[in-house]
Symmetry: C2
Subunit: 405 residues, 2 copies
Amino acid sequence: MAKERLVGNMLIAQSGGPTVVINQSLVGAVLEAKKHKEIKKIYGSLHGLKGILGENLCDLTKETQQNLELVAQTPSSALGSVRKKPMPEDCRKVFAVLKKYNIRYFFYIGGNDSAETTHIINEAALQGGYQMKCFHICKTIDNDLKENDHTPGFGSAGKFVAQAFMGDNLDNRSLPGVKINVIMGRHAGFLTAAAALARVFPNDGPHLIYLPERPFSLEKFVADVKAVNDKLGRCVIAVSEGIADENGEAIAAKFIKEVDSHGNIQLSGSGALGDLLAKEIKEKAQISRVRADTFGYLQRSFCGVVSAVDAKEARLAGATAVKFACGGQFNNGSTAIKRAPGKTYKTWIERTELRNVAKETRHMPDEFINAEGNDVTAAFVKYAAPIVGPLPKVGRLKAAPVAKK
Amino acid sequence: MAKERLVGNMLIAQSGGPTVVINQSLVGAVLEAKKHKEIKKIYGSLHGLKGILGENLCDLTKETQQNLELVAQTPSSALGSVRKKPMPEDCRKVFAVLKKYNIRYFFYIGGNDSAETTHIINEAALQGGYQMKCFHICKTIDNDLKENDHTPGFGSAGKFVAQAFMGDNLDNRSLPGVKINVIMGRHAGFLTAAAALARVFPNDGPHLIYLPERPFSLEKFVADVKAVNDKLGRCVIAVSEGIADENGEAIAAKFIKEVDSHGNIQLSGSGALGDLLAKEIKEKAQISRVRADTFGYLQRSFCGVVSAVDAKEARLAGATAVKFACGGQFNNGSTAIKRAPGKTYKTWIERTELRNVAKETRHMPDEFINAEGNDVTAAFVKYAAPIVGPLPKVGRLKAAPVAKK
């Protein structure tokens, strides 16, 4: 007996901070949808929720396979993104638009805010007695979604961070000094931790890693840096932009307050935290050559550095969400990447409840952070290495010393 | 009749800011030197001039070919670098060390400061009546060496900058706003200009490019950004860290002075210039979403983004310097990359006088800069594209609009 199918149009949108593989999920969903007869038109909303509210939709059925494949390998949300949580009045309007265009399949690609949005829209449809499949497709470079072993976008951003630290460590070895690099991730330290993958030879940097999961003390930081610098004559440091003191107050915010009365330097998309940590080291540790870089938007958008595993999983997340929606077993949910225990890297996509992903942020588990709270463990490296994938090979000269005459 | 050969040891060193292909030049020189019987030991000096002064040398004859090839593809000076101009007393000491180790072949890889150092050491040898072949091997991401069409290191740094802008433009298109990116290059704008290679589709950023070769006016800057933002709803800007006002005073320095009384924020290795330009746009152009990133050391060290042409030419520059030294025609000089006019990209290495490279900085020629002084010309793109090499392919959705209901 054939099961009853929900027939109608599909709408897909992208939300939150872009990643370099977010279009793999888009294209994965679109190509899968084309295989299902119950899905008629495939609409894309421009700039997420904003496009739905303004009825700025495009017809993805008209895209060629060749162009979709090119878009899939292009960084940053091809449909445009948005940072908007729906207000109650927005929900009513979104729901009205979805009904008007006979949307029966709704997909929203994003992080936990986007999962929350999907959840709200799903609740509105249920309350309105409107039959609609409603799925969130996971993504975030922060890797902080509950229920997921890891999230699409993290592998490629981690690869960028690792390759950046590989080069920066070599630069610092060549011209020694203290180098601070500020990495994205407000509440979870996974991306900052990925800097550890850069280590190849003994004494390679990053020599210290500071995560938002552990309280940050400026005194301890200065002492740590001084100790490494005394030993190696140099020090490369990875700092999460989200580091906070023991009361949970962000260090960046504390600094900003100080700077604010003078010049109102802003928190994100700026080099303020790195610059001010560098100043602290110069003054308190009495080290002259101290530099700071803030990797900024390069981490989530840099063109040409992609983890193949990440791209593949992002594509699969998109396709699987459509399979779930068309499969008849679930009316809503979120895609979650699961991973088999053991040595061999094996992952698959499961469906989880929207509210499971929407609610909280996932943090670095304790076993990934060292006791001192200034580095990661071997367990983290084992976890992250296959997601980031192979890194470029680098060498050192043997540099056999010549006896002084 | 066999020509008389100067027999003795060789010393090679690296100096100044590292590049991702500087080890290609090192390895090119070492492998070529191994072919010449008149060169006995091949020494490397650790950290340039500092290694010579402290007699911290290593024996490069003991490196395996396999390890040398791995080092060649590794970013940043494998011998270590230094930022040191020799004082008169240093020269005497350097000269004494070179004599003590019977160095008859001296090679120094670096920019114009390093060419100056090589020139001074050569003069000291001549005055001391000490026979020594003395060659400078060109490198600098700034691309500002006289006599060179371009320099090793520029192509790969340009590729990094172009790929960064490709991604950043897509990110900005996805989440619109004003985005300022600060690029290295104190006196020459070539690297900042390389951002133009990121443009693929109409209205792609960078929309504005500011170079040190043209006086920078804050008023004009704000007006330019406002005009682009009014037209496109977004604006991506490439700014050289070396932009200066009509009196030649660096904008960064002007800003720093203001900040100095409060907090002594430093000029290089910091995000200060970008942050302060962003503040200016927010306040004067009344645009709310303004972000700034400073690409920093990533530009010269990022691991895994290499221009194949750049790597090949860097290798050739090293090998050719040794050929010049062993060829009998020249006792000293600098390697300069020359390029055939016309459509086909063809380059070769010529020998030029040390003083020709040591003296001045090469700037962007007028035909590479637009009349308004806020962009580059098609002639620049034609010049730089083959040096940077092919870039990743990106796509846009056709995004056929759906009629509003």
